[in-house]
Symmetry: C2
Subunit: 349 residues, 2 copies
């Protein structure tokens, strides 16, 4: 069922006002505000219908109206006007890029910080672990009892561990280890390691097989451990400033969401992966009074992570959405661009 033009105007005004003040909005308030040139009684009738249609609700009989989830949905889907980032805000956001951080992780962290400061809500970033398949191994002699074990993954990322051993090592032996690893373990992920490959690895080590167990344990650890999402969270306390969370129990529920970062990351990524654009979630995850805006970060077609904002359900969506979109657009430029460069280079030979 379509909303009349006037209903849309009223719904928009109600939500705008509620977002600003946090107070239920009554019919009289709207006569003064908005460009509606009708009496409060008319507005009352319209609001009553909007309530029947599921866009508004009353906290109690004699209070004004408050938007429902459905109300917010239509608001962000079309009613709200676009927010133009101020010069000040653009400056803050651009600083994130000016610093020229090459790692996406730090870039998203500082963006998350900037956005939290700008919007005064909690902001977070999640980076999904990528390609856990080993492509190549290298070893590097450090001293008689330690060496660096380096794993180059299929996605180009690199992991390494400083391995300390009781026995003596020397560069020659380490070379053997690397060769044996490359011969038997390249291309594996942690589930792929078979008994056969382990045995072959030990065999290839020959006289140095004493070191096999240690090396295998480290590799197993490397394949698994870095395999976790990187989570950054900024401005948790900001949430506590909003009356929605002035009750400690609710505050607790909200903050608890960020407590177990692993779990949080999984929740976020499971919502981001199938989406290719920004999504808005109202009152989910046992947080009836919270809203979450989620922006997946996609580079070269792959969802590498997500950045988002959590605030009270009545948060300033247009500002939040504008900030997140500005960020993701520029990340796109920066990283897709870089990739094109790489491809150019690769064409040469």
């Amino acid at each position: 069922m379509e909303l009349s033009e006037r209903k849309k105007k009223i719904l928009k005004s109600v939500i705008d006002s509620y977002i600003r003040t946090g107070e239920p909005v009554g019919s009289k308030l709207l006569t003064g505000t908005s460009d509606l040139q009708v009496s409060s009684a008319t507005i009352r009738n319209e609001m009553s219908e909007l309530e029947r249609m599921g866009y508004l609700e009353q906290p109690h009989a004699s209070a004004g109206r408050v938007p429902t989830a459905e109300g917010y949905r239509t608001y962000v889907d079309g009613l709200m006007e676009q927010y133009l980032l101020s010069l000040e805000e653009l400056k803050v956001l651009n600083e994130v890029f000016n610093y020229k951080v090459s790692e996406i992780e730090r870039l998203m962290e500082s963006a998350s910080h900037a956005i939290s400061e700008m919007t005064n809500y909690t902001s977070f970033s999640v980076i999904r672990p990528s390609g856990r398949n080993a492509k190549r191994f290298e070893t590097l002699y450090i001293d008689e009892h330690s060496f660096l074990l380096i794993m180059i993954c299929t996605d180009g990322s690199i992991r390494n561990r400083h391995v300390k051993v009781r026995m003596s090592v020397d560069p020659e032996m380490l070379k053997t280890v690397a060769e044996a690893l490359n011969a038997t373990m390249s291309g594996v992920c942690s589930e792929d390691v078979t008994l056969q490959s382990v045995l072959e690895f030990e065999e290839r080590l020959g006289a140095h097989s004493g070191i096999a167990a240690t090396v295998l344990r480290v590799i197993y650890d490397m394949l698994n451990s870095t395999n976790s999402e990187k989570v950054h969270i900024d401005g948790v306390t900001k949430l506590l400033s909003y009356p929605e969370f002035s009750d400690v129990e609710k505050a607790k529920d909200a903050i608890a969401l960020f407590e177990d970062r692993r779990d949080f990351a999984q929740k976020i990524m499971s919502r981001s992966t199938d989406e290719k654009g920004l999504t808005v979630h109202f009152g989910e995850a046992d947080l009836p009074d919270a809203g979450i805006v989620l922006q997946p970060i996609i580079i070269n077609g792959k969802t590498v992570g997500a950045i988002g904002v959590m605030g009270p359900k009545r948060m300033d969506y247009k500002k939040v959405i504008a900030s997140l979109q500005y960020f993701v657009d520029n990340v796109g430029k920066q990283f897709e661009g870089e990739d094109r460069n790489e491809q150019e280079h690769r064409k040469k030979p």
Copy 2:
């Protein structure tokens, strides 16, 4: 001024009771409890004196007594009995060690988690950044446009970066880079880099000097960036369960302490460095209702970090202290032991 035996008993009983219930404790309550065989009137007199002496105070005229910071101090310094960790608790703590994590960082993280669960307070661990002096550099060829730059520090720690460049690189050239770095930059920390060493580095690169700027920038970044404390925090929401923090403003103050991790780490380390044992802090850092127990982690005479617990001022100190001490004792065994091994090995040649 020394406290009489009876005053001590009373002070201890008051604090024990207050820690248990969180309610101000009155004279009548104590007659039933403790082994004091005196009337409430006598206790009243004693409590009145304890108040005059600064160990107790009254929230308001008709309420019971509550310990002052001074009261807590004498309590933890000698009045409280020792807490014996239950088998259950020992099991939880031991699991941390059984997992045989070699990195102190993860070890402290899981200990922090375990202790937070055990005590139901917030627990944190901080690891101080160590030795930022470069001892040796290595390079490792990855592909035509990228290589791994490895920095081995004087304290044995290792840092590395995956460097991507536009120009073509090859193993031979990388060897030159490593040699040039070792000749000019070994032993430096970020403040030590002089113009002279930079020029010499470029000179030694010879035909490959085009790569100098990139390499130098990466090294500068490595010297500085990893130079930050690693902070882990566990169980923040647990704080919110205590009436001390049921007011959102207070909760906010408490949680804000953990918000800026860098700042938090600095605060913690500055309190831990000069201490060689466990310290207890009452109501500091603008948190009048909080208490912090801090245990520096010292390995081979060096303070490498700290682990601690934050809870309401009336937290169960004996349990918290017992847990932290159990942990630090075992960390000592594990790591000092490992070090002895290393030294044995080194004696051989």
